[in-house]
Symmetry: C2
Subunit: 138 residues, 2 copies
């Protein structure tokens, strides 16, 4: 069976390198008005559905402290940079899983900008280096 | 020699649990105007000075993707939540080290709000859970 090279690489890397999406389930929408279920809960459900069969773990988290720019999620992979995204909605589940796979496949631990889904470009809130980061010139 | 109980606890914990402050050295000031050295470089130097003798590691990092609300820094400790702060300035070195010690001493991996220095309250941008987080109710 023919498989494009990139797909094979991604699958192999994703299997070797566990990646997790943390979706904030306490996030309200941009208006700040409360609702039941909260937008964060709907986003978490959509993300879990999008993750089905991909090997990406989706977890609920209570507050990523990005309340003014929620709904929020973080993508984390051991040894890689961690990314926090905001301004998400229920339609962003697929984008989060796609971003998680990009991060898992990135040899340099950085989620590539090229090919990154739009919601993860415009919604980038912050990124945090891996514990063992050593910048050039330190 | 008399040592207050809290000081003793913090020292013991900091020794056991390595904590790192990552200061973004590419951050400009709130105006966005470039300067040499950049405010992030000055903050990194002040933080390194404040860390002297505390056991806290201070590292340079190029971009925490919090550019619109810099200068920025992240505080990270293995097994704990990771915190990103913004709106900092050269006077915030001591606050970052104090926050790092609070995090290293926190048994639950959460930087306590009570006792947290003011710049780390008003400047909170986001927090990211440790890899092994398991929320109640999942």
């Amino acid at each position: 069976m023919f498989l494009p090279e990139q797909t094979k690489t991604r699958d192999a890397t994703a299997a070797a390198k566990a990646v997790t999406v943390y979706v904030c389930v306490t996030c309200r929408g941009p208006s700040g008005v409360d609702s039941d279920p909260r937008p964060g809960v709907l986003l978490a459900a959509a993300t879990a559905q999008a993750a089905d069969g991909t090997g990406v773990t989706v977890r609920h988290v209570e507050c990523l402290a990005n309340c003014s720019r929620g709904p929020s999620a973080a993508v984390r992979c051991k040894g890689s940079w961690t990314y926090v995204f905001g301004g998400l909605d229920v339609g962003c589940g697929e984008a989060l899983i796609e971003g998680a796979n990009l991060l898992a496949a990135a040899a340099d631990g950085i989620m590539p900008w090229r090919g990154r889904p739009e919601p993860l470009k415009r919604g980038l809130i912050a990124r945090v280096p891996p514990l063992d980061l050593q910048e050039v010139g330190e």
